[in-house]
Amino acid sequence: MPLPLLLSLSMILLAIGLYAILASRRASCSLQVYGVSLVICVILLGMALTHLLNAAAPVTLTLPLGLPWLGAHFRLDALSAFFLIVVNLGGAVASLFALGYGQHEPAPGRVLPFYPAFLAGMNLVLLADDAFTFLFAWEFMSLSSWALVMAHHREPANARAGYLYLVMACLGTLALLLAFGLLAGANGGYDFATIRTVEMTPGLAALALILVLMGTGSKAGLVPLHVWLPLAHPAAPSHVSALMSGVMTKVAVYGFIRIVFDLLGEPVAWWWGGLVLALGGITAVLGVLYALMQHDLKRLLAYHTVENIGIIFIGLGLALAFQSNQMYASAALALTAALFHVLNHSLFKSLLFMGTGAVLTATGERDMERLGGLIHPMPWTALAFLTGAAAISALPPLNGFVSEWLTFQAILLTPELPQWLLKFLAPAAGALLALSAALAAACFVKAFGITFLGRPRSPAAAKAQETDRYSLAALFTLAALCLLAGTLPGLVIDGLSPAVGLLNGGAQLPAQQHQPWLTLVPVADMKSTYNGLLVLLFMALSGILAAVLIHGFASNRVRRSPAWDCGFPDASPAAQYTAGSFAQPIRRVFGSVVFQAREQVTMPPPGDGRAARFEVKMRDPVWDYGYAPITQAVIALSKRFNNLQYLTIRRYLSLVFGALVLLLLGIVLWR
C-alpha cells in the first residue's frame, strides 16, 4: 500500500520545514534540510517509478481531514505517478544541487523552511483526489513558492515579482474554484470519483474548460497569463527557480490534464482542441521572442519556460482535437508527445537554471552583458550548460528533439480530421512550432555564446571559479538524463504509455522496446522512424574517425596567437559582440512587429568628445494592452471610492436615511 507511505513522506517534508524555522540559524541546517529532502525525493521517485513501470492499478485513500463530510481523498494512478516522477526527479536533483549552492545563501532563514514545504505541496497536488484537497495543496504550493520568491525581499524588483505572482496565482485558484463549483454541482459532490460520473451540458462543459484554461494556464504561463512568470522565477534562489520553472509549471499542466482529460471526460466539441492548439502555438512563439529580447540570463530561461509550455499545450490541443473525433490512436501519439515534452522540459530547464545558479555564485552576475569567457574557468559547468542548451534547442541526438519530432508526427496526422478550421490550424501550429524551435536555437547560441564564450566582459567574470562538487553532480545527472532520454526514447514512451492509456480510453502507442535497434516507430513502420541511438553512434564514429585520421596522417600541431579578426586584433573585450547586438537582426525582423522595437542612435557631431549612444525602446504588448488598463481602472475607481472616507457625519446619516427610504419604497412596490 504505497499511498500512506507517500503521504507520510510528504508530511516529513513539512516537518523538516518546521524544524528549519527553529534551526535555520545553524550552519549545518542547510545540509540537513537539503539532505533529507534529497533522500525523501529519491524514495518518492523510486515508488512512483515502480508504480508506473508495473502499470499497477490505481490505489485510493481517504483521511478524516479537510471538509468534514467529505474527508481528504487521495489517489495514485498512472498519470499522477508519471508526474510524481517528474516532480521528485526535479526535487531530488535540485536538493543535490542545493547541498552545495545553499551554502552561499545570504538569507537561509527565508529559504530553508519553505523549500521542503514547496516540495510537499507539489507532491500533494498530484495525489489529491477531491476538489478541496487539490485546491488546498495547489494554493499551498503557490504560497510556499511565493515565500521563496520573496526570499531576497530587499530588491524592489523581487517584491514586485512576488506581488504579481501571488495575485495571478489567486486569480488562477479562483478560476479553478469556479470550475470545480461547476463540476461538483450545487450540493457539493467534490470528490473526483463523483465528478467523473457527472454528465454536463456542452455549454457548462465549455465554460469549465475555459475556467480551467485560465486557472492552470495562469500557473503554467500560457500567454496572456504569463506576465508574472518571467519576473517571479528569476527572483527566487536558483535551485528554487529550477523547481518553479522545471517542475511547478508541470504540476499546472497536470492540473489541466487531470481536469480536462480525466474529470471532464470526452471532449464535447471539436473547437476545444482548436482553442488549446492556437493558444499553445501563440504561447510558444511569443515566449521565445520575448526570450530573445532578454539579456538577463534567468529571465531568458523563464521566457523559454513559457515557450515550452506552449509546445506542450500544442500537443494537448492536438490530443483534444483527435479525441473529439474518436481518433484515439492519433490522440495517443499527441498525448505521448506532450507528456514526453513535460519530462524533457523538466530535465533541461532544471539543468539550465542550475547552471545559471552556478554562474551566479561564481560571478554574482545574471546580466549576460557583464559575463563572458566563463568556459575557461568553469569548463564542466560550461559542458553541462551546453548540453542543456542543445537539448532545449531540439538538436538531435538529445531529448528535446524527440518530443518535438513526436509533436510534428502528430501534426502530420491532422489531415484526417474532418473539421476545416482544424485543418488550417494544425499546419499553422506546425509552422509556429518550427519557428519557435529555430528561434530557440538562436536564443541559446546567444545565451551560451555570450555567457561562456568569448572574453570576460567584467572583472567579476574574469575572477570566476569552477563550482562545487554537489552542483556539478546535479548538473551532470541531468545532462546524462537528457542524453539518455534522447537516445533511448522508446523506453520512455513505453514507460509513460499507461498514463496515456488512462487519459485516452485505453488507446496507447505500440510498444517500442521490441523494435530493432530500439528505433522509434510511433505510427507505423515505413511511415516515419527515428533512431537517436544510431544517429549518436554515427556521429561519434565519423567524428572520431576524422579526428584519428587527421591527427594520425596529417598535422596535429597547434600554435597560439592573438585572434586575427581580419587584421584588427583588438585588446578590448568591449568590442565583442554583446547579447544585444547578437539579437539585433532578429529584433529587426520580428521585434519591430511584435514589440514595436525602435532603435535610436544619437551620434555626437565630429569633434565632440561625448560617446555615441544607442538605445532600443520596446513595448510589451500583453502588458500594455492587457494589464495596464485594468490596474489603471482599479486605481481610478479606488480614488473615487476613497472620497467616501471623508464625508461629514450628516452625509453618513443621509446614507443610512437613503438606504432606509429605498428599502421602504422597495417593500411598498414589492407587493
Binding site: 569548463p379 551546453l386 542543445a390 534547442s393 538538436l395 538531435p396 528533439f401 508526427q409 489531415p415 476545416w420 485543418k423 488550417f424 499546419p427 506546425g430 509552422a431 518550427a434 519557428l435 529555430a438 536555437a441 538562436a442 541559446f444 551560451f448 555564446g449 555570450i450 564564450l453 568569448g454 535497434w517 515505413m526 511511415k527 516515419s528 522512424t529 527515428y530 533512431n531 544510431l534 544517429v535 554515427f538 556521429m539 565519423s542 567524428g543 579526428a547 587527421i550 598535422s555 596535429n556 597547434v558 600554435r559 597560439r560 596567437s561 592573438p562 585572434a563 586575427w564 583588438d570 573585450p573 565583442q576 559582440y577 547586438s581 547578437f582 539579437a583 537582426p585 529587426r588 525582423v589
Partner: protein, 318 residues
C-alpha cells in the same frame, strides 16, 4: 549475404558523397568563372586546397576554448551523417530509416548551432556578426524547410526520404501546385542554407555583409579543412535532396544487381552536374541582396511552404 551488400552499399554511398563534395564545389566555381568569361581554377582545385590545409598547423586564437577545437569535428560529423541519410543513387539503404527528413533538417541545425558557437568563441566582432546573422537566417530557413517536409510527407504519407523517393518514382504523382511551391521553396532554402548568392557570397572576405565566412574567419589548418569539407558536403546534400525528391529517376532500390547500381550512380552524377550548372547560372545572373532583405526572401520561402502544406491539407478533404 544481401545484408552485407546493403551495408557495403551504405558505406560506399558515404564514401562517395565524401569524395564528390569538393568536386561539386570546384565544378560550380569553374562554371561560374567561365560564365564570367574567366578561365577559373580546375574543378579539382578544392582537393588541393583541402590537402594543403590539412598539412598546415593550426593557429589558435588565445581566447579560443576547447569548444573551438571540438566544433569542426562535430560539424563535420553531423553534416556527413545527415548527407549519408539522403538517398543518392539508391533508396531503402539499411540506415535510411535511422532518421527521417525532419531529423536530417535537425542534424543540419546541430551543425549550425556549433558553427555559430565557434564563431562566438574567439570573442571577435566578425565572429559575432556571422553567428548572429546565420541564426537569423536559419530561424526563417528552418521553418520553411519543415513546411516543405510537411508538404512532401502529406503527399507521400511519410517523412521517410527513401519512401518519399520511391513514392515519387512509382506513384503517378502528376503535376501538383503544392509540389511546385515546395520545389521553389526548397530551392530558396537551399540557396540560403549554403550561403550562396543572393543571400551570401561564398567568395568574399572582409565585407560586412558576409555571414558564413565571417564565422569561420578564425579557423585555420585542419579545422578549416574540415569546415570547408562540411560546407561542400552540405551543398551536395541539398542538391541530392532536390534530386531524390523532385527527380528520382534512375534511382535504384536496395538489393538490385550491380548494373542497376551503376546506372543509379550515373544518373546521380548527371543530376549533380545539372544542379551545379543551374546554380552557377543563377548566381552569375543576380546580385547579392542586403542582409535585411534576406528575411523577406526567406519569409517568401516560408509562405510558399506553408501554402503548399495548406493546399494539401485542404485537398485531402476534397
Amino acid at each position: 549475404m544481401a545484408l552485407i551488400t546493403d551495408y557495403l552499399v551504405q558505406g560506399g554511398q558515404m564514401l562517395l558523397i565524401l569524395l564528390l563534395a569538393p568536386l561539386l564545389t570546384g565544378w560550380i566555381r569553374t562554371l561560374k568563372a567561365q560564365l564570367l568569361r574567366r578561365r577559373g581554377p580546375s574543378p579539382l582545385q578544392p582537393y588541393r586546397d583541402l590537402l594543403k590545409l590539412l598539412r598546415k598547423d593550426v593557429v589558435l586564437a588565445d581566447s579560443a576554448s576547447w569548444l573551438f577545437r571540438v566544433a569542426p569535428y562535430l560539424i563535420f560529423a553531423a553534416i556527413w551523417v545527415a548527407a549519408a541519410l539522403v538517398p543518392t543513387f539508391a533508396s531503402g539503404l539499411p540506415f535510411n530509416w535511422a532518421a527521417d527528413l525532419i531529423a536530417i533538417v535537425a542534424l543540419l541545425g546541430t551543425a549550425r548551432f556549433f558553427l555559430a558557437l565557434a564563431g562566438l568563441d574567439t570573442g571577435t566582432s566578425f565572429g559575432g556578426i556571422g553567428a548572429s546573422r546565420e541564426m537569423m537566417i536559419a530561424s526563417l530557413a528552418e521553418p520553411a524547410m519543415l513546411m516543405i517536409v510537411f508538404t512532401l510527407s502529406l503527399l507521400a504519407g511519410t517523412t521517410e526520404l527513401s519512401a518519399v523517393a520511391r513514392f515519387m518514382l512509382n506513384a503517378d504523382v502528376g503535376l501538383r501546385v503544392s509540389l511546385a511551391l515546395a520545389l521553389l521553396a526548397l530551392v530558396m532554402v537551399a540557396i540560403a542554407e549554403n550561403a550562396r548568392v543572393p543571400v551570401d557570397n561564398p567568395a568574399t572576405h572582409l565585407e560586412l555583409t558576409m555571414v558564413h565566412e565571417a564565422m569561420v574567419l578564425e579557423y585555420s589548418g585542419r579545422h578549416l579543412a574540415l569546415i570547408e569539407l562540411a560546407a561542400s558536403l552540405k551543398l551536395l546534400l541539398y542538391l541530392s535532396l532536390l534530386g531524390c525528391i523532385f527527380a528520382p529517376w534512375g534511382m535504384t532500390t536496395a538489393g538490385e544487381d550491380l548494373t542497376a547500381y551503376l546506372t543509379g550512380v550515373a544518373a546521380y552524377l548527371a543530376k549533380l552536374g545539372l544542379g551545379g550548372f543551374l546554380l552557377a547560372l543563377f548566381e552569375t545572373r543576380i546580385a547579392k541582396m542586403r542582409v535585411f532583405r534576406v528575411d523577406q526572401f526567406l519569409g517568401m520561402a516560408l509562405m510558399l511552404g506553408l501554402l503548399g502544406a495548406l493546399l494539401l491539407f485542404v485537398s485531402r478533404s476534397l
